[in-house]
């Protein structure tokens, strides 16, 4: 059964531009997207910065009114039935804001418990359980201002779960966390899914999406460009190999020529410490290495690897195609 149904969703922001001659500009953040999420499913919304992920989540969580289209969650309309819906959903937005820093973690949770009209005795019992679950039992009495970013994020998880919502929206929950913090949070998300919560997760970390999500929609420039299981999305690039070429110094001048080659399907660059890595998706596999190095004449080249494509490569191809 579908718990979330999104149909032709569109959201336009109005902005004023220019300091002296002010003019009005419309920015389309979400452009007619449709998808559904089944009960107990962990669904990923994947996309680059500015793709429309957060805007979509804010509309799903009743914080923004859609310009067009409809969203039904648990059979309720997010605009018309916002009040009824709010006690049945929980959300966390990435980042450290949204907590009362001068209060302790426990006081924050107690306050939100009263805002959700929870029974005070039940809240008192639930708070230690939640703090235990997010690994904050030892620090619950401390003021939030002394928490690390990861601790604040985990407190947000506890806050979102306080009223035991059926549906959870997690908007880039691991953004800015160190690897250990991110891993701990992923474990928490996995446990929540085991409790049969319906979860929508937005992220631009492929490994996270691959490891957690049953289905993924890739969103770019406000449109959904692909949807399916991680395996289905990977199959988009199954006929390709990925050639990783380490280069030192700028290669920007070479990019147009490389992109124009028939054996180059998609190309992206990653910065790794003092070197850059060219990631080239090619149907020619290892045979493309030689012509490729020929085109990079004069550039200091390090290691060259030919490997199988991952979800990240599928994502790069989808986003590049859209460009």
């Amino acid at each position: 059964m579908n718990v979330i149904e999104v149909s032709n969703l569109r959201r336009v922001y109005n902005a004023n531009v220019g300091a002296i001659r002010r003019s009005h500009k419309e920015i389309v953040a979400v452009d007619g997207i449709s998808f559904h999420i089944e009960g107990g499913e962990l669904f990923g919304l994947l996309g680059p910065n500015g793709a429309g992920k957060t805007t979509t989540v804010k509309m799903l969580t009743t914080m923004l009114i859609p310009t067009d289209g409809s969203i039904r969650i648990l059979g309720l309309d997010v605009v018309r039935d916002a009040k009824k819906l709010r006690s049945r959903i929980g959300f966390i937005y990435g980042g450290e804001r949204g907590l009362y820093w001068r209060l302790s973690g426990i006081d924050n949770l107690r306050y939100f418990g009263s805002l959700y009209h929870l029974d005070p005795q039940a809240t008192r019992k639930r708070i230690p359980e939640l703090l235990e679950m997010v690994g904050l039992s030892e620090r619950g009495e401390e003021k939030v201002e002394g928490y690390s970013r990861g601790m604040k994020q985990r407190l947000h998880v506890a806050r979102a779960l306080l009223h035991d919502p059926e549906v959870l929206f997690l908007d880039e929950p691991t953004l800015g966390l160190d690897p250990v913090g991110a891993r701990d949070l992923r474990t928490i998300i996995r446990n929540l899914q085991a409790e049969n919560k319906t979860i929508l997760l937005t992220t631009h970390y492929m490994l996270e999406a691959d490891a957690l999500c049953q289905r993924i929609a890739v969103i770019n420039k406000g449109k959904i460009v692909a949807e399916g299981s991680p395996a289905e999305l990977k199959s988009i690039v199954s006929d390709l190999s990925v050639i990783e070429v380490e280069v030192f110094g700028s290669v920007d001048d070479f990019l147009p020529t490389l992109r124009a080659q028939s054996f180059v399907d998609a190309l992206s660059i990653e910065n790794r410490e003092q070197k850059q890595v060219l990631l080239i998706q090619s149907p020619a596999g290892a045979e493309a290495v030689s012509p490729l190095l020929g085109l990079l004449a004069g550039v200091r080249v390090g290691k060259v690897i030919v490997r199988e494509p991952t979800l990240e490569d599928a994502y790069i191809r989808l986003v590049e195609e859209d460009v």
Binding site: Y13, R97, L115, H117
Partner: protein, 265 residues
């Protein structure tokens, strides 16, 4: 949820929000200045000027100073009850709960108003220190009743300005300019009869004026009918503000969800 349990839950939120605001204000230097330092300085100057005038003048100053604390807190701290939450990113979290936002603002404003009564107590004690004798309140019963409605009327004022400050930044720019004129037009330290006649209608539309009139009247043994009239005017303003507030909150939340301004980026 039944109406009764809903009411009980909302009352719990009011007390939780008040407790939160009190704890938060305890560490805020501006609040300490607004409710203790500023009223004390004003009271000391006024005591010095009116030192030969007797009990009536002293109690007038005590109440006037207390009123400055109430007004400063209502204008600056309660006025920012919503915009402050927006700056810290907690407004979205509040809106996402089943509690109506105005319930939270009532709790925060209640804390601010009760806290600012400290100013009145502080200046009362100061008067005792300066003159060696505590000034007398001649109609304590009426004074208590007036104080109760003064607190409610300041809460209703806080409720109306907090969404106005969010809806219209121009109103917020007037914030500083509104502080001292209301000390004068509200008759906090001297009767408004001493002011030019054209300012009287302005005083009449200010709830702080009626609060000051009721409290001054009760403390100096004024006519009961006049005190009750002032209390009636406070009740009238509370009702008018209540009706406007309900619409303002609906409007501000809808507008913020359309314009994406629930949070400051």
């Amino acid at each position: 949820m039944s109406d009764l349990s809903n009411l009980r839950a909302n009352l719990r939120v009011i007390f939780s929000a008040a407790e939160m605001a009190l704890r938060s204000n305890l560490t805020d230097g501006f609040v300490f200045f607004g409710i203790v330092i500023q009223p004390t300085i004003i009271a000391l100057l006024a005591f010095w000027m009116l030192r030969d005038q007797g009990n009536d003048a002293i109690i007038y100053v005590v109440i006037g100073s207390g009123m400055t604390g109430l007004w400063t807190m209502a204008l600056f701290i309660s006025g920012q009850a919503i915009s402050g939450e927006r700056w810290t990113g907690t407004l979205e979290m509040l809106v996402a709960t089943p509690t109506p936002l105005y319930i939270v603002v009532i709790g925060k404003t209640l804390a601010n108003v009760l806290q600012s009564l400290v100013a009145m107590v502080a200046t009362y004690a100061l008067a005792g220190l300066v003159f060696g004798v505590l000034p007398r309140i001649l109609r304590p019963g009426m004074f208590t009743l007036s104080l109760f409605f003064a607190v409610i009327s300041y809460i209703s004022f806080g409720l109306i300005i907090s969404p106005l400050f969010v809806l219209n930044p121009q109103v917020r720019r007037l914030q500083n300019g509104l502080e001292f004129p209301v000390y004068i037009l509200g008759g906090f330290f001297f009767p408004i009869a001493l002011l030019p006649g054209w300012t009287t209608p302005l005083s009449y539309i200010l709830p702080p004026y009626w609060a000051a009139r009721a409290l001054h009247g009760a403390s100096s043994g004024g006519a009961v009918s006049d005190i009750l009239f002032a209390i009636g005017m406070m009740i009238l303003f509370i009702l008018i503000y209540g009706m406007i507030t309900a619409r303002l909150f609906q409007r501000i939340l809808y507008k913020a969800r359309v314009e994406a301004t629930l949070v400051r980026q």
